[in-house]
Symmetry: C2
Subunit: 219 residues, 2 copies
Amino acid sequence: MAAQSIGIDVRTQGGPGVLHQLTGVIARHGGDITSVSIHEAEAGEARVFFEIRLPAEAEPLLAELRATSVVRGLETVETFQRVFGKRIIIVGGGAQVGQVAIGAISEADRHNIRGEHISVDTIPLVGEQPLAEAVRAVTRLPRARALVLAGALMGGEIERAVREVRARGLLVISLNMAGSVPEAADLVVTDPVQAGVMAVMAVADTAKFSIERLKRRVF
Amino acid sequence: MAAQSIGIDVRTQGGPGVLHQLTGVIARHGGDITSVSIHEAEAGEARVFFEIRLPAEAEPLLAELRATSVVRGLETVETFQRVFGKRIIIVGGGAQVGQVAIGAISEADRHNIRGEHISVDTIPLVGEQPLAEAVRAVTRLPRARALVLAGALMGGEIERAVREVRARGLLVISLNMAGSVPEAADLVVTDPVQAGVMAVMAVADTAKFSIERLKRRVF
């Protein structure tokens, strides 16, 4: 059997060391963990959600996990990649984040109907430091593919953060705004709705759109 | 020193077993891992982002992690809870998801300015099965607090999924729509912008709004 990706939702006892035990079992079965999230349920209980690439059938791994003392229950589930897919992140001032979101959500709808999986995630924020932190944090978010900066004035530390995350391979689109952030972005778009649409087009496999082939970077 | 939450961004070699080694070090220091995300960088390298509750100072843990053979680099970073905070998830048809997002983002902006951290995440989807899967997957998403179902017709398997996630403690708001989903939701709202606003008010510590104290459940 070929390698496959599976999702496992495990109910366990809470506390330090539980993840170490579970990952030990998974490593023994040659599983490559691509994502983990941990949720606290009631006192003393946790839910751990793994996404794992497995070289072989899942059943022996699942059986050994079920037999582990800290495990109280287990079910296989869809992976986040299958359900929520690629993520567009929109950060900035509420009025403009909302307009970019309208464009991105409408465009994602059109691609998701044709089999893509694109979600659009947003946070309205104010202030140079919180915005710079949010920009840097995007490269730690699972499945994030593009960042749109939606505001009227951004520069300084935010510009430095944009250059860092672009160097790590993230696509950055900026609204046409005051400050130095537009100079640091891959693409500058004046209309917020179009900025959202272009962000989705740039990451959709169902779209014919390539930032590299554009003759202009400012719209 | 009191317990603290820290974020650590670790560059490691890729492949099975790496997470097991790292979690072993963290467990030895009494660290309770509350979130992990794993990213592939270039071939043979991965980035692992941990959020850890620690009973003591971080430096001895960081030093031991740095000395681990699979670790190539490490830096401390802000936690997702501090940067992106609580999440409102909006799922459904593009036109309506966009309008709910407008309301939620504007309202989150007003609370985030006063020190809250609320982000608004969306995915436009079509079809009973994909929607039911997305609803169930929300309880596995880190920091998700409320779900808004934005559509014109939802029932069947989606209704069953709504009842399951409510039983796990997730707040569910439905637009007033055809199908059985509104009957299964905590709250039914006709105006999509207001639905987004109410979802944020319900999870914001800066808001005076409690679903339990409402005399009506349909608006």
